[in-house]
């Protein structure tokens, strides 16, 4: 199947109506997680969900749009990290295509891969646009690593990864659980459903 055909199949009308819901789920679950003071963000579950159900391209679009809209209604800083959110969707979709959302322990691997990819996208933005700073307590880790001799790039990647990898593992596990809990009739409305359906039985 050519890319154009695949895209047409991925972006069906159901995918299109799923994406806004997924974006809002990203935002609302993220707010819930910070309301109960969890040490993880959990703000990309919707993106991973779309990536599993409708493929990497739909996942990429969901991630990018989440941060752009968040930038519009909350803080423009979020928009600067739209590429990171896009990469999360893209990598999650590729993991799903490779069958990594077929079992809970595979979902952990997928989460780690997503977290590493997200970190490597986030670091150049952090370093070149924000001088390596997040404006939160995590910056003390960066300070400590700089003091012990790391360069800024190395210090920031360790700081970013230590926050992102556990977060994406938790998100991938939750997304896996949600996809399993979906009614089969509903799941099969989506273009990439065959990939997960067999294994979840």
């Amino acid at each position: 199947m050519s890319l154009a055909e695949q895209l047409k199949k991925d972006f069906s009308t159901v995918t299109l109506t799923l994406i806004p819901v997924a974006i809002v789920l990203n935002m609302v679950i993220g707010q819930l997680a910070s309301a109960v003071k969890l040490p993880v963000f959990l703000d990309s579950i919707g993106t991973i969900l779309v990536a599993i159900l409708a493929g990497p391209w739909a996942g990429l679009l969901t991630g990018v749009m989440t941060n752009l809209i968040w930038g519009l209604i909350s803080s423009p800083v979020a928009a600067a990290f739209a590429p990171v959110a896009g990469v999360i969707g893209l990598v999650a979709g590729l993991c799903a295509r490779a069958g990594l959302f077929n079992a809970w322990w595979k979902a952990i691997i997928a989460g780690a891969l997503i977290g590493i990819a997200a970190s490597f996208t986030a670091v150049p933005i952090r370093v070149y646009m924000f001088g390596g700073i997040t404006g939160s307590g995590a910056d003390f880790i960066t300070a400590y690593l700089l003091k012990t001799g790391s360069d800024l790039f190395g210090a920031v990647i360790i700081t970013v990864m230590s926050a992102n990898v556990p977060d994406k593992i938790a998100s991938a596990l939750l997304a896996w659980g949600i996809v399993r809990a979906l009614p089969e009739r509903f799941r099969f409305r989506f273009p990439r459903a065959e990939k997960i359906a067999i294994a979840s039985r």
Binding site: F11, T13, T17, L42, I69, L72, I133, I178
Partner: protein, 265 residues
Amino acid sequence: MARVVSRSIMPRHPSLALAGKGIAFRLNPVTKLTLVGCALLLAFLIPGWWPPWLLFTALAGFAQINRLLTALAKKLLKIILPLAFFLFFIHGLFYHQASAPLTLAGVDLSREGLLFALQMTGRISAALAASLLFVLTTPTADLMLALSQRGTPAAITYIIGATLQLIPQLQARAAAIGDAQRARGMETDGSLLRRIRALLPLVLPLVLGSLVDVEERAIALEARAFRVKGPKSSLHELPDPQSERLLCRLALILTLATIVVVWWG
């Protein structure tokens, strides 16, 4: 539901836009987006510590003309203060330095580090000021309308519009689920393990409940020929004067010329 995007039908969206009469409110959103893009390029691609601050001053002046300076300052300071604190703290103390340190009250500070922090704070402030001026003066409904008038695919404007409408709905649903679970005795504080366990009975009903409507909305869209190609007429038209298109082109050319001159001149 998919509907003609217009100000009269649009419910209260979450939006940062204020009401006002200044020039910043009257420009076409696409014009403003282009100008924000120019400001971002200038802020991040011009070397030196003072150019971003010059740009920032110009943007603050523009905000003042539109009576937006207080609103802008409030939003900006909330974001920039923690960033600036850590920028000066980390780079002032730990920057890799070539010259002799600057000793202040017995603490060795790095000259280069402080200049770097000053430059980054300026860059972020200028970029934030430009983006905030955009969001403070652009109602989301206008943005969507302007984007579709300029030929942005309907799928994109649908995603923006539907998301903005869904946010209050899903927040209300999340609050209702939270109330229901608390009424059953769920605890939302305590140890980490207990808080993780508290999240699941909140998240699963929220996700599954909100996905139920997805299929229905897709059928509604298809029944209204959402996928049909070609231009669609809108109840409201946004002014998109030739003069503003010229302004955009001029701003882009000047920005790129400045960058080229600074780097290779």
